[in-house]
């Protein structure tokens, strides 16, 4: 399964931000959105680029830190509490987020 992620990147508050497109190969459909970004960050570090910064703490949908926006919606395409419990089986192969 492959997903295309358009992520807002901004180095610091002085510099202007922009959407950057990344492609991620997903081996397991049970991976959460946070794990997908972890995989993306591993790939970025291996390439020598800066990883994506994202807020997370408990990774279980309890603390509420990982409530970022996906497709303009805070909780993603399904009524999941947070992105920690948003698994990839709710997306289609080749979908763009």
């Amino acid at each position: 399964m492959k997903l295309t992620l358009k992520i807002w990147r901004q180095k610091n508050r002085k510099e202007a931000g922009k959407f950057v497109t990344y492609s991620v190969d997903i081996e397991n459909a049970e991976m959460s959105m946070l794990e997908v970004i972890d995989v993306l960050n591993e790939n970025l570090i291996e390439k020598g680029e800066e990883p994506v910064a994202f807020e997370h703490d408990c990774r279980e949908g309890i603390c509420g830190s990982c409530g970022f926006m996906i497709n303009g919606v805070r909780i993603g395409p399904m009524p999941a509490p947070l992105s920690a419990s948003l698994t990839m089986r709710h997306f289609k192969d080749g979908q763009e987020l």
Partner: protein, 209 residues
Amino acid sequence: MQGLFRRLLHRSLHRRQLPRDNKSPQCSILRLKVKQAVACVKQTIELLLSIKGKRTVDSFHASWARSCGTSVECRAPRKGLQFAIGQIRALQEEYWKNVNVPGSGEDLNQSLEKAGRVADFFELAELCASTPSTANESCGGHFREEIRRLKARLSVMMSITPTSRPGLSRPRQPAHADQGALGIPLRSPQPEELQVNEANAKDLAPEES
């Protein structure tokens, strides 16, 4: 957790009774300590950013978890603990040579935050493994299998006394049923005995001149 930390910090600061005057000797000592701590942190950050190795912080974190999860757990035999200590030290050595922390220390850098935490995890894991390996006991948060076995063997050995050899019968009760193992009476004295004791005490008492 953060609320608890804040409360603890507030209490500890309150108990310390920090001086209000900035020119007091206590304040100058504190200022020196803070400067030392800041310099130490800056040095660590610079070192982490300058390594530019090949392995990511997450891969080191996963290796650390694997080596700790197999050996440093509740059921921890000494051999496993020593093996884990060796593994953790080797991993720590590799970490400070081959870790790759991208970005700089001036902007938000989550890889750097993680790198500092993982560096602490190595020290913590070594402490968690070395403490039960040096203690010859199985209690608290660590379950030492060999100590348990040794205790079981000792209890079996203590139960086998010379009187239990074949041909010798061990009395099931002490010679005097009302006396314990140390000869201390297990029952309360009878009133007659108390009277006799009082009479004896009168006889034994020194005569008044």
